[in-house]
Homo-oligomer: 549 residues x 2
Amino acid sequence: MKKQNTLKIRFLGGVGEVGKNMTAFEYGNDIIVVDAGLSFPTEEMPGVDLLIPDTTYLEENKNKIKGYIITHGHEDHIGALSYVLKDVNAPVFGTRLTLTLIENKLKEHRLNSVSLNSIRAGSSIKLGCFNIEFINVNHSIAGAVALAITTPVGVVFHTGDFKIDYTPVAGEYTDLARISELGKKGVLLMLSESTNVEREGYTVSETVVGETLDKVFNANLDKRLIIATFASNVHRLQQILDLAVKYKRKVAFSGRSMVNVVESAKRIGELYVADNLIIDIDKIKNYRQEQIVVISTGTQGEPMSALTRMATGEFNKVVVGAGDTVIMSSSVIPGNEKMIYNVINNLYKKGADVLYETLEPIHVSGHACREELKIILSLVKPKFFIPVHGEYRHLKKHARLATTLGVNENNILIPEIGSTVELSSKSMKFGEPFKAGTRLVDGIEIDGSDSVVLRDRIHISEDGIMVVVVCKDMLTGQLVSTEIINKGIVIGDDTLTELSSLLSKSLDGVDLHLDDGITAKNHIRRSLKNYVFKKTKKNPMILPIIMEV
Amino acid sequence: MKKQNTLKIRFLGGVGEVGKNMTAFEYGNDIIVVDAGLSFPTEEMPGVDLLIPDTTYLEENKNKIKGYIITHGHEDHIGALSYVLKDVNAPVFGTRLTLTLIENKLKEHRLNSVSLNSIRAGSSIKLGCFNIEFINVNHSIAGAVALAITTPVGVVFHTGDFKIDYTPVAGEYTDLARISELGKKGVLLMLSESTNVEREGYTVSETVVGETLDKVFNANLDKRLIIATFASNVHRLQQILDLAVKYKRKVAFSGRSMVNVVESAKRIGELYVADNLIIDIDKIKNYRQEQIVVISTGTQGEPMSALTRMATGEFNKVVVGAGDTVIMSSSVIPGNEKMIYNVINNLYKKGADVLYETLEPIHVSGHACREELKIILSLVKPKFFIPVHGEYRHLKKHARLATTLGVNENNILIPEIGSTVELSSKSMKFGEPFKAGTRLVDGIEIDGSDSVVLRDRIHISEDGIMVVVVCKDMLTGQLVSTEIINKGIVIGDDTLTELSSLLSKSLDGVDLHLDDGITAKNHIRRSLKNYVFKKTKKNPMILPIIMEV
C-alpha cells in the first residue's frame, strides 16, 4: 500500500496559460477538483466560442470525484462547470455569490440535477480524506476564498485569486491572521497565483476607486454619467450606487449580465440597493441628464454590447452626446485594445467626454502584486511551492521570488497542463503525466482532434476558396461540363476565363471514368495552382468536386 | 482668380488612425505630398498583407504633383511609396538614411525610374510655389526632419514624428533654435504629431537605454547576449556595437532586414562599425558564449523571424539555452502582445533569461510626450492648429492641450481621412471632401470595393462553408445527382446523411429547368439552413452550384 502515501496533484488548466483554471487533488480513491474555468480563443481559432479543460481524466475516474470546490465566481474559475458537470456530476461547493453566478449558468444549460452547497469563509468541509477550510481573501469579486486543504500527507494552501486590500468596500480583508496561524502550524505545499508577479509594489485598494469616482461625480455635476464596469465586481457597483445616492442621481442598468448579477447579488444581500434608486433604462428620458447614472456592460468593446452600440449610435435607449461623461471603470484585457479604443474614439466623436486610464485610478487590479505575494510567502512559509495561474514567464518569476524568500530551489516545481505532481510529507516530484489539454467549444462542443477544421478555416480566411466542379459521364468517363466558383478571392474575369480553359485543356483526354477520384482531384489542383498564384499571389484552397451524371 | 487664394490641405491618411501617414498641400497648380506610409491590417481583414492610402485624388491630379517629401524612413511614412509611385511618379525628397531605406523598397518592386533627391536638415528646396525647409528632429530613427513649408498664404510647420532628446546618441538634437525663430517670425498653421499625447512628462533619452544596456552587459559577463531590436533604430544599434567593443565581444546579425539596414547605414556613414567587430552568424560556434552578441529582428514575435525560431528551437544557427540572456530592446506594438509573450515564454522554457519591460528602460519611445508637445506649441505659437498622427482620441486630447497653451479653440480643426482644409492668411475651414480611404494590399493590390471578399473570408473562417452541387438535366430540368461538401464545419455523418435526404426531398418536383438559378439557389439555402444551425449552432456559408448536364 506504499503507493497510497503520496498526494497526486493534477493540473488540468491554469498553468502556463491565463484562464481555464482547474486542479485536481487525488489521494487513494478520493479526488477533489478546485475550480473549473474557461478561457477565450486566440486569433488562431476563428469561430471558436470558448476553451475549456479536457477532462478525460476526470471522466475516467468519475467514481473517485467527491466534489468541485470553487474559489470565486469569475469565468476563468466557473465557466467550464456547465460543460464538465454534464459528463462528471458531483457536488459543487462555493460561497453564496459564487453559487448564484453558477446557478445562472446551469439554468442556461438546463442542468437541474446539480447539488450546489453554500459555504462560508471560516468554515470547513470534509470530502473523503480531505478537509477543506475556506479562508476569506480580497479580489475583484465578492465572496472569494483561499483554501487550506488538510490531506493525509500534510496541509496544502491554495491562494485562489487574491489581493490584500486593507480597506475593502465590504466585509473583511484577506484573513492574514488565519493564514499566519496555518503557517506557524506548518504548511507542506503552497500553490499561489502569479498574475501580477511582474508588477512591483502593492495593488491599490478598491476604496481608492470610490474616492476617484467621487471626484468624477463632483466634477460632472451637470453631465449624465455612463459608467462601464464588470458586472461581477459587486463592490464597484456598491460604490457607484452609494455615490448615486450621495449626488441624488437615479441609476439605470444596461446589459443583460449586469441586470442578472445585480438581481442575484441584491437577493443574497451582497449588494445594498436603496429604495427608489433604480429606474428602468426606458425611463431615463423622463429625467434631466444630470439626474442619471447609467451603469453598463461592454468594457471590452464587445461588438454587441450596449456601450459599443451607444458609441455607434445604434442603441436608441441611450443616445450619447455632448451632455455625457463616460467612465471606463475597467481594465483592458490584452487582445481587446483595438475594440476598446474604437468605442472610445466613437464616443469622443459623438461629443462625449471619456475617462479611461487616467493618472487617478478609476480601476484597480484584483490580483496581488509582488509585495503582496511576498507577504503570503512569508506568512505561509511553505516547505514546497508551486506557482500557478499564469503564463510560463509569470510562473518562472514567481518561482524565483519564492527562492529569495527562503523556499529551497529544489522544492519548487513549475507544472504544465497534464503534469502530475506527487507529494509526500518529505518530497515533491513530477509523476506520470496524464491526458489533458484544451477542448474547444464551437457552437457545439468539439475537441482538439478537429484541428483540421480550424486549419481549413484559417486557410480559407487568408487565401479564399476555389470550388471546381467537374461533371463526367458515368458511362463514358468523359467530361460533360465544368464550373469554377470563388469565395474570398480577388480575381479578374480574364483570369477566370483563362482558368476555365486551363482546366478543360488539362482534363482533355483524361479518362475520369477509370479514376478513383483522388488522382483526378490532384490533377485538377496541380493544373490550376501555379496560374492562380501567379495572378493573385495567393494560394486559395482548391476544392475539386467530381460529379458522375 | 480669388479661388487660388487658399491653400488646400488634403488628408489622405494618418488622421483618426495610427499609421498610413500622407498629407497633400495644394495651391493653384502645385501639389506636394508629405509622406506615403502604410499600416497593418486588423483582425477583420484576414489574408490582407498591408494597407495603403487610396490615392485616387493624386492620380486625378498627376500633373500638379511636384514631389514627395518624406520626413523619415519608418514604414508608416515610406511603406506606400512603392505602390503610389507606380501610378503617380514624381521626385522623392528625404535625408540620406530615409532615401537608402526607400531605395531598398523600390528595388524589391523593380521601380527604376524614380528620382531620389537627398536633402540635409537645415537646407531648403523649392517645389512650385512652395519652399520647403528641413529641420532636424530626434526620433527613433536617424535622419528625421520636421518641415517648415512657406506657402503663398503663410508658413506651415509640420512636426513629422519627433521627440526632444537633449542627449541624442549621434548628431544634433531637435533644432529648437530654428523652431523658435520660425515661431517669432510667425507660423500660420502647425500640424503636430499626437502619438504620445496621453503620456505625461517627457520621453526618456536614447542615451539612457545605452546606460541600461551597459549595466546588462556588465551583469551578464559569462552569458551570451541576444538583443532583439528594430532594425531601423540605427542609434540603438550604434550603442550596442559600442558596448560590444567595450566588453570585447563579437557581433553577429540575424534577420534579413537587420543585415540590409546595417549595410546601408554603414555605407552612408550613419553607423560606425569598428574593424573585425562583425562576424557571420554561421561563425558564432567558433567563439565562447561570453564572446558573442547576437542582434536580431523579431521584436514583435513575427512567426518567421529569427528570434521566434530561436525560441522554438527551429533556428539552428543560434541554439538558445541556459547560457543566454535575451534582451527585448523594443516596444510592444498593440495587437502583438500574444505573439511576443509566446516568444518570451518559449525562451524561458529553453532556460534562457529574458529581459523585457523592466523598471529600467531597455527601450524608449520615439514620440514626444505631453511636456514636449507643449514646448513645441509654445515655441511655434501657431495661429491655426491641426493635430495629426493619431486616433480620434489622441487628436481630441491634443486639440485640448493646444487650447490650454493659448491657441484659440475656433482655430483648431480635427480632420479625418478625405478632409480638405482650406487655409488663407486669415481663416481656416473645412472645404469639399475628396475621394480618399484605404487600399488593401492582398497578394496583388485590391481596393475597398472588394469588402465582400473580406466579408466572405470572415464568414467562412467563423462558420465554415457548405458546398451543395446539384446536377440537373439540361433537357428535362430534372435532378440528376447532388453532393454536399463541407470545409471548416464540425458535422456528424448522421447529420450529413439527413441533409442529403432533406436536399433531395426539397428539390423533389421542383422544375430546375424553368428556373433562372437564383430561385433554386435560395430554395436550397432555405431548405438546409435551419437544420444545419440546429445541429451545429453555426450558420456556415451555403454555396449552391447548379450544373446543367
